[in-house]
């Protein structure tokens, strides 16, 4: 599949990247791992005159767990950097779940977390769990830097609040409260290399058997990854009994607005949301105990 011609630039600083993007905002695009962009270019779905690669900007590569338990994911950190990070495995198991469910090994070696979010497809695997953790995006533009909650980041399928010369430089995940457990679950059409038909993530704060706080988020069942706030509310203040979980599942399904497509029907996606919500809440709570 031959791609149309484009220019490829590799700035070494964020400001240089922004400047390059600003030169031709409509014709340029940020290039991170390229696993989404190249597919679009090959399929002729997009045409960019210029790709601005972030690969040579050293400071964007880091993944940091700070002493207070916050997590910062640099813009060019790959999915596998996350999946192989021992600290993340222990403290943010749900983020590890999501990373391990994405595509397959080679893609995980190349694809970035930021790229997954910026691509903003409804099924993006990293989105629900980061949304549930209340992650924020640090965005730099030629006029300065701002922080955007992930909750406000997605606008529609393949659409975000980013302006043409914006660069996401990092994703920040706040430190989880004591007693937090998290999990991410999704159902694809085969074990690896398949996009999810539905995905659910949960972050819960447990105090003994009582859930003090719960956030449930959904992927692949709405135009963007979404919060299922009501589902979290059902659980909050309660033990995770079968009834409570079932109720949470129903609420989550009410939040979902799935479509029929070649991967699954609307009805099936709703059923999946119910089941996955129950299971993911239970898994998150179990981890909080353990």
């Amino acid at each position: 599949m031959s791609m149309r011609e484009f220019d490829f630039v590799e700035p070494t600083s964020v400001s240089e990247a922004c400047a390059l993007l600003a030169e031709d905002p409509d014709g340029s695009a940020v290039f991170a791992g390229g696993t989404d962009i190249l597919v679009d270019l090959k399929a002729g779905l997009k045409h960019h005159q210029r790709l601005v690669s972030l690969a040579r900007i050293e400071e964007l590569r880091a993944v940091e767990l700070t002493a207070d338990g916050a997590l910062r994911i640099g813009a060019t950190a790959t999915i596998n950097q996350i999946a192989r990070h021992q600290g993340i495995k222990e403290r943010f198991s749900g983020i590890n779940d999501a990373a391990m469910s994405l595509a397959a090994e080679q893609v995980r070696n190349q694809a970035t977390v930021a790229g997954n979010l910026c691509m903003a497809v409804p099924s993006a695997d990293m989105a629900p769990i980061l949304l549930a953790h209340g992650a924020t995006m640090r965005v730099v533009s030629p006029v300065g830097e701002r922080v955007v909650p992930l909750r406000e980041f997605f606008v529609g399928p393949r659409e975000t609040i980013l302006e043409a010369a914006d660069v996401v430089v990092a994703i920040d995940v706040p430190p989880p409260a004591p007693g937090t457990g998290d999990a991410s679950l999704r159902q694809g059409g085969r074990v690896s290399l398949s996009l999810p038909m539905a995905a659910v993530a949960a972050v819960v704060v447990m105090e003994k058997r009582i859930c003090r706080e719960a956030t449930v988020t959904l992927g692949a069942v709405a135009p963007t990854p979404i919060m299922a706030t009501a589902a979290g509310e059902v659980v909050t203040g309660n033990e995770l009994s079968e009834d409570v979980l079932r109720e949470a599942g129903e609420r989550a399904a009410e939040a979902a607005v799935p479509i029929d497509d070649l991967r699954a029907t609307k009805e099936y996606r709703l059923e999946l949301v119910k089941v996955l919500t129950r299971r993911v809440l239970q898994a998150a709570a179990d981890r909080a105990k353990g």
Partner: protein
């Protein structure tokens, strides 16, 4: 703008000038000639392009060359050091983890990244690390085994396969010798058609129709022709008026559309240009005007009175492309004798072979001699040569067909295709070699995969389980052209009475033209879907009369030396042994109906022909023909045969037969290239014919050599030639083994006295096959295989997701010539079957466009979907086969579908009538069951 990129590839520094839109894969293959890294999809889905970038596995089709600047790349060519293979490579050879070899380099590189980081990986580690590498041949089990045991192959030891399953009756036959092509495939040296680069070569591309049904009113190629770098553009006006196809009665395809287009993907024009990008660009510049016609996507709509004709009416009334109407015995009487009769509709799916290697052809027209040399990824070099000769209206001798390594076919490469013809025309027009390759989406549009069948099946049984009658009405959605479809329509019905004794049988089959991609022959050709229906309905009847599913199969099972109700000739048959075996090995009696809700076991049976009894077009030539040439020093021999190795291992098996028959040691016989200038006609790789038919021809050629040698040796040893045998590189008196001479010595004398020592042999199926009614020849075969599979699985009743746990499979394949190759076929069939039942289906929109023409959304199983598989060959001997051998490659696919469907029923009590059995269908069925309970 070009830019110089510095790469260290396999330790060597390279500077390459590239444009930014060039991928690392392009650089490796096109600039550096490192063809070991394969392009199976170009979209990140298949993993055949996997290389290491600074030590990490990446898909090189998704890496821009400019982004790799300054980095270190390791490809498969860099893995062996100083010619010594990496232990992983040896493990792949020894464990039989290689079949067609197209996935192998990528698979090995992904495994290399794994073992570098984790030298003792668990099975789960392996499944995670290789999750991005698809394999369509092996079923993955041997790949997992190879990677898991790689450390056993450290050091100098040569890769010796496990001999656990070997027969002890012969020296070479029955032994798990390593595949002769494995070293070339595992090191990336094996050259597939796409890997060929000839001097001054052009690249061709096809323009296909975006409409499912339309008249082509005008084509303007002027803009395309004006594009710099474009060397030729051809349309329907430039190609032969002779139509091609598979069955002579239904040659219905023009090389390029002359009048109408009949499916999205129908070929309209082709261009040749100096590079692929220019050719792609030129294709877009061709302007075609279409007058749209009504689109018929539903075979029942196509069948309705008043439906427009997709082809001129003469080729089929009401769009019926093939009609089969058979009645043996009297079904009405049969049903009257039955105690239980069930009738149900079952519906199949559109399954595509999806070999990892895309179809490719390289044509070189020689104007000095007026000949064409064509390298093609084909399963049937002879039929290709024949069709070229028809279309170009020139003698066979003008066409030289060379089949390089083929990266899987499964029936999808069993006929001449547009790429073959178009590359030939373009080469003739330009006087330069032309290469053409299908993109992955074009492979789906070309299709020639399974027909979707709508099967109304009725079976009657007595209270003892004896089948009294079967009535089968079938509508096959055939797509826009005939392809193999006549045969498919017959096979779908004809194979039903081969497995069980069926005293009364009626089959009514209609293959419909629709405006979809043409369906053709795929592994098990026409049989798997009807067998899914039959095995499901038989289980339902067993339950109705209170009988165990394996018992009801035993009661009806075919016996050896039977002439079936539809006049098929069954000689060897160990079907009952396969049932006994899987019953015992799967723990059936303790499991069936006894496992907790959500877990179940199911049985399915099936089998296949060992080669078609008659060729596709009427001809008097033997079906297989072999030549063996012993070298003048007598130390080795070359086998020349055009039976097509496409990954199944037939070259190795045929070399084993030749070696055994000549009494030599494995390695003494080498295979000549599959080249029509070297080897005589052989009908190729379809209908599971190679082992039996080509094997017989090879054995006959070896016997011919032996008879010449025995004459010479008998004079020398003072005995009768009949007293001699050849074994262990010696010819000796059977009754007095110490009296003999070296094979080489006898061969030298023979050569010195008479000149070239050549043996020839051929095989022609018995003329007695088949009855004398219309179509009686179609399902005939010298021998039939039989097999049974027990599937154990889990169904998640909340999501409908099926997890296959284990397959226990027993197959009667006659004498097994190479056990590792045999089990590899079974494992590959099972995993392909799992995909076919659970996830694979081409989905069309209402305009006839395929919505999932890629390996991203058309879901063939990944390594993590592979269950545990126990494969058993039951002892058997087929008198018509070489050393008693018959088929396994296709027959092993057939039982899989029913066994899964029946296991799902055992697990959760829902009967699934429609393929694929997706989680959402199971969930729906569970809900319906709950509301009706």
């Amino acid at each position: 703008m070009e830019r110089v990129v510095h790469l260290t590839v396999n330790g060597d520094a390279h500077s390459v000038a590239v444009r930014p839109n060039v991928t690392l894969l392009d650089v490796l293959r096109e600039h550096l000639g490192l063809i070991g890294t394969k392009r199976g999809c170009d979209f990140g889905d298949c993993g055949t392009c996997t290389v290491l970038l600074d030590g990490e596995a990446v898909k090189s089709c998704l890496v821009l060359a400019v982004a790799a600047d300054g980095r270190e790349v390791t490809t498969i060519e860099g893995l062996a050091s100083d010619g010594a293979m990496h232990p992983l490579q040896k493990a792949f050879i020894a464990k039989g983890a290689i079949q067609c070899g197209y996935c192998t380099p990528g698979m090995v590189m992904a495994a290399k990244a794994l073992v570098d980081a984790n030298p003792d990986p668990t099975d789960d580690d392996i499944k995670t690390a290789l999750g991005g590498n698809l394999c369509r041949c092996t079923g993955y089990t041997r790949i997992i085994d190879a990677v898991g045991s790689w450390r056993k192959y450290e050091g100098d030891a040569a890769p010796e396969p496990d001999s656990g399953h070997d027969l002890e009756t012969h020296a070479v036959v029955g032994r798990s010798v390593p595949r002769s092509d494995a070293p070339a495939k595992v090191t990336g040296r094996a050259v597939f058609t796409e890997d060929i680069r000839l001097p001054n070569m052009l690249y061709g591309k096809l323009l296909t129709s975006p409409h499912a049904h339309a008249v082509v009113t005008n084509i303007d190629t002027s803009k395309a022709e004006a594009l710099p770098g474009v060397k030729a553009v051809i349309t329907g006006a430039d190609v032969s008026g002779v139509r091609y196809g598979v069955s002579p009665a239904r040659y219905d395809e023009y090389v390029l559309a002359k009048d109408k287009v009949r499916f999205v993907g129908d070929e309209v024009a082709a261009v040749a240009a100096v590079d692929e990008a220019t050719a792609d660009e030129a294709v877009k510049l061709i302007e075609v005007e279409y007058e749209l016609l009504p689109v018929l996507l539903d075979p029942f709509e196509a069948l309705a009175d008043g439906a427009p004709d997709i082809h001129e009416a003469a080729r089929g009334k009401n769009n019926v492309n093939t009609l089969v109407d058979h009645h043996f015995g009297d079904v009405d009487e049969g049903f009257a004798e039955a105690d239980a009769v069930f009738e149900r509709r079952f519906v199949g799916n559109f399954v595509q072979q999806s070999p990892l290697e895309p179809h490719c052809a390289v044509a070189q027209w020689n104007h000095d001699r007026g000949t064409l040399t064509l390298w093609s990824s084909t399963q049937v070099p002879h039929y290709l040569q024949k069709q070229l000769s028809r279309v170009f209206e020139m003698p066979l001798a003008k066409f030289r067909i060379i089949k390089p390594y083929v990266g899987g076919g499964f029936g999808g490469k069993a006929e001449a295709m547009a790429l073959d013809f178009c590359s030939a025309y373009l080469s003739r027009a330009t006087g330069r070699p032309v290469k053409m390759t299908y993109t992955r989406p074009q492979m789906f549009e070309h299709h020639r995969g399974r027909h979707k069948q709508f099967m109304d099946l009725k079976i009657g049984v007595t209270k003892d389980g004896k089948i009294t009658a079967v009535d089968f009405r079938n509508v096959l959605d055939g797509g826009a052209y005939t392809s193999f479809g006549v045969i498919t329509a017959y096979y779908a019905g004809f194979m039903i009475p081969t497995l069980y004794h069926i005293p009364n049988y009626r089959y009514h089959g209609r293959r419909m033209y629709t405006n979809k991609p043409p369906c053709g022959a795929m592994r098990g050709h026409g049989v798997p879907q009807p067998r899914f229906a039959f095995e499901s309905l038989l289980d339902m009847l067993a339950e109705e009369i209170g009988m165990d599913p394996i018992d009801i199969r035993m009661v009806n099972a075919m016996d050896p030396n039977t002439r079936t109700v539809n006049d098929l000739d069954v000689l060897s048959c160990e079907f009952k042994a396969t049932l006994d075996t899987v019953r015992e090995r799967s723990g059936w009696d303790a499991k069936h109906g006894k496992l907790p809700f959500g877990r179940g076991v199911g049985i399915g049976s099936g089998g296949f022909v060992s080669g078609a009894g008659y060729p596709i077009y009427r001809s008097s030539f033997p079906h297989s023909n072999a030549i063996i040439r012993v070298l003048e020093d007598g130390e080795g021999a070359t086998l020349m045969i055009a039976a097509a190795e496409i990954g199944q291992g037939s070259e190795t098996v045929l070399a084993q037969v030749a070696t055994e028959a000549l009494g030599l040691a494995y390695g003494d016989v080498t295979m000549a290239d599959c080249d029509s200038e070297i080897a005589p006609i052989d009908l190729g790789s379809y209908s599971s014919r190679v082992t039996l038919m080509a094997g017989n021809a090879v054995k006959a050629a070896a016997d011919d050599i032996n008879s010449k040698l025995y004459r010479v040796a008998a004079r020398e040893l003072g005995c009768e030639p009949e007293a001699l045998i050849s074994e262990g590189r010696r010819i000796f008196i059977e009754a007095a083994p110490h009296v003999g001479m070296d094979f080489a010595e006898a061969a030298r004398r023979c050569f010195s006295a008479d000149g070239p020592l050549v043996g020839t042999g051929c095989y022609e199926p018995p003329s007695s096959l088949g009855g004398d009614f219309k179509g009686a020849t179609v399902g005939t075969s010298p021998a039939f295989s039989f097999g049974s599979s027990v599937c154990e699985l889990e169904v998640d009743p909340e999501t409908g997701v099926v997890r296959i746990i284990k397959f226990t499979d027993a197959h009667d394949s006659g004498t097994v010539i190479n056990p590792i190759a045999f089990h590899g076929q079974v494992e590959g069939s099972i995993v392909m079957g799992v995909g076919e039942v659970l996830s694979e289906d081409m989905i069309f929109d209402d305009k006839g466009r395929i919505l999932n023409p890629n390996l991203h959304d058309y879901l063939i199983p990944s390594i993590g979907d592979t269950p545990e598989i126990e494969s058993i060959a039951v002892p058997s001997y087929e008198p018509r086969g070489p050393y008693g051998a018959k088929e396994v490659g296709e027959g092993s696919m057939v039982p899989v579908l029913g066994s899964i469907a029946n296991a799902i029923y055992d697990a959760v009590g829902v009967r699934m009538y429609e393929l694929p059995i997706t989680p959402q269908k199971i969930l729906k069925a569970l809900e319906e069951k709950e509301s009706s309970d």
